[in-house]
């Protein structure tokens, strides 16, 4: 098992606000890394930096040993290897479900439309959304939209999947249908980095849990180590608050 992703001393600020400072992280192949932490702790920013949607101020990002934080790198080529799913789904409203899924394979990877469609149909069938293939996103429930968004990012066969609080915009009933897809992907051996507030889910899928606060990882380890026997007082405090909110 190799390292798919390696972050070395990442620093990122927006104007005067320091969002990530001296953050390092290693993600091995076929593992799921779960980022937890309060809103504003830098989880989303970290994911956006990995996907090169934000540029970092210092440090290095390595994907399969290649430094992708190099300014000379072709960002489009790197992003092809990285799937990203957003909190707010971000499906393309003017395209049907199937068109949303086939756009990148056809335009980016040069797959024929026929092949892309059959890949899309297969994925939709697998996740129980085949009857929605010709619908427009606005007609779907939030859970269905997010599942389509996950399928869309899978259609390009990413090396690493980044999931940014994919259930935060959903009601508790819909959360489960989305999380079950993520569980399936974990079974398939997909390498993932995910930010989430669902602690129970984190316990189930995480090979590694990182607690972020103030732009750095204060505590990391297995789900049992971090979520059940936290050592850092800040982690204890955070988990207590999550528990009080009834999300554990």
């Amino acid at each position: 098992m190799g390292n798919v992703l390696e972050l070395r001393n990442i620093r990122k600020s927006f104007n005067t606000e320091l969002v990530l400072s001296d953050l390092s992280l290693v993600v091995q192949e076929h593992t799921a890394t779960v980022l937890i932490g309060a809103s504003g702790s830098g989880k989303s920013t970290l994911l956006r930096c990995i996907n090169l949607l934000e540029s970092i101020d210092d440090g290095q990002i390595l994907l399969d040993g290649q430094e992708i934080s190099d300014p000379k790198i072709n960002v489009d080529e790197i992003r092809r290897k990285l799937g990203m799913v957003f909190q707010s789904f971000n499906l393309f409203p003017h395209k049907t479900v199937l068109e949303n899924i086939t756009l990148a394979p056809v335009k980016v990877q040069g797959t024929s439309l026929e092949e892309a469609r059959s890949i899309g149909i297969a994925l939709l069938t697998r996740f129980g959304l085949l009857d929605k293939s010709d619908q427009y996103p606005d007609r779907l429930s939030g859970g269905q939209q997010q599942r389509v968004a996950i399928i869309r990012s899978l259609a390009v066969n990413p090396r690493l999947l980044l999931l940014d609080e994919v259930t935060s915009a959903l009601d508790p009933v819909l959360v489960n249908e989305v999380l079950s897809i993520v569980r399936d992907l974990k079974q398939d051996g997909m390498t993932m980095v995910l930010a989430t507030h669902e602690m129970g889910f984190a316990t189930q899928v995480a090979d590694q849990v990182c607690f972020l606060e103030g732009g750095n990882i204060l505590e990391r380890g297995s789900a049992i180590e971090v979520l059940e026997n936290p050592k850092n007082p800040a982690t204890v405090e955070f988990l207590k608050r999550v528990h009080q909110a009834g999300r554990l």
């Binding site: 956006r48 996907n51 949607l53 960002v75 489009d76 080529e77 992003r79 092809r80 990285l82 799937g83 990203m84 957003f86 707010s88 971000n90 499906l91 393309f92 409203p93 003017h94 756009l103 990148a104 335009k107 980016v108 990877q109 009857d131 427009y136 606005d138 007609r139 968004a149 869309r152 990012s153 390009v156």
Partner: protein
């Protein structure tokens, strides 16, 4: 959506009662609407017909026989307006789209063109159309350039296209800017280049959003094509004017106005319908 309607269902007595009440309510509303409409319109017509100058106005503005007589000349002029609008409209769409894309690009190679596009929009949006028509219509032939036509209809169209491209470019640009950055982020994260993102994700949504204001511009364009008459082109307004000044009967103006409305009103209704149909198909909001 996918649920099948149960065929065994028949409305309950309460539902039937409700439907009866709704029907009664509807009937009442129709009666009220009809009564209020005829009252308001009737009053307006009475005021018009009973005004002291009505007989004179009727004879000089609504002379049906004279209207029929001038109709062929006015409609020939109208054909000029329509041609100018459609040919100009196509040129405007192409140029405006280019300008809007140039103004929103971040590509370093295109930087000088971005500045030029901004300057172009500033100038042609700010200067009165009439001035541009005069400058192009009289200025270009005065240069006596080889191979450049002095056809006033052509030059007039060029002037209109120059000005309207600037307006339309700004409308399209505002549409592009109105698309949420998360759409761009989603497209880029899939590996689409910035050009592909614009072409397949941003622009289709932006254009849809600006169709109503663009239609507005198209109606203005149709009317503003009349301004090329100052170069000597006989459009509908000019044709009406010639006839009116010959006889001091102003019916040709009314004929021209009706012709303009006959083009613009169906066009507006048609576009509204197209937009509504698309919204119905793509959104779950329903008709509000």
């Amino acid at each position: 959506m996918t649920e099948r309607i149960n065929s065994a269902w028949s409305p309950s007595p309460r539902e039937l009662e409700r439907r009866g009440q709704r029907r009664a309510l509807n009937r009442r509303q129709v009666i009220i609407a009809a009564a209020s409409t005829s009252l308001v319109l009737g009053t307006l017509i009475l005021i018009l017909v009973n005004s002291p100058g009505w007989s004179v106005v009727k004879a000089t503005f609504f002379d049906v026989k004279y209207g029929q007589e001038v109709f062929p000349t006015v409609i020939r002029g109208m054909w000029v307006n329509i041609q100018l609008s459609f040919i100009g409209g196509i040129c405007i769409a192409v140029i405006a789209l280019g300008l809007a894309l140039l103004r929103t690009t971040k590509s370093p190679t295109l930087t000088p063109f971005r500045f030029l596009a901004t300057a172009y929009v500033d100038i042609f949006r700010g200067a009165p159309l009439l001035l541009i028509i005069l400058l192009v219509g009289f200025g270009v032939p005065a240069l006596r350039l080889q191979g450049v036509t002095s056809n006033v209809m052509f030059l007039g169209t060029v002037a209109v296209v120059l000005t309207y491209s600037a307006y339309v470019a700004e409308v399209i640009r505002s549409g592009i800017l109105s698309i949420h950055p998360s759409q761009r982020a989603a497209a880029r994260s899939l590996g689409l280049t910035s050009g592909q993102t614009m072409r397949y994700v941003v622009l289709p949504q932006a254009i849809r959003r600006v169709i109503p204001p663009l239609l507005n511009d198209f109606v203005s364009l149709l009317k503003d094509t009349g301004l090329v008459s100052i170069l000597g082109v006989t459009d509908a307004v000019r044709a009406a004017q010639i006839n009116a000044s010959r006889t001091f009967n102003y019916t040709p103006y009314v004929v021209a106005a009706i012709l303009f409305l006959l083009v613009t009103i169906p066009m507006t209704r048609y576009t509204d319908r197209v937009i509504r149909r698309r919204t119905d198909r793509q959104s779950a909001e329903g008709v509000i």
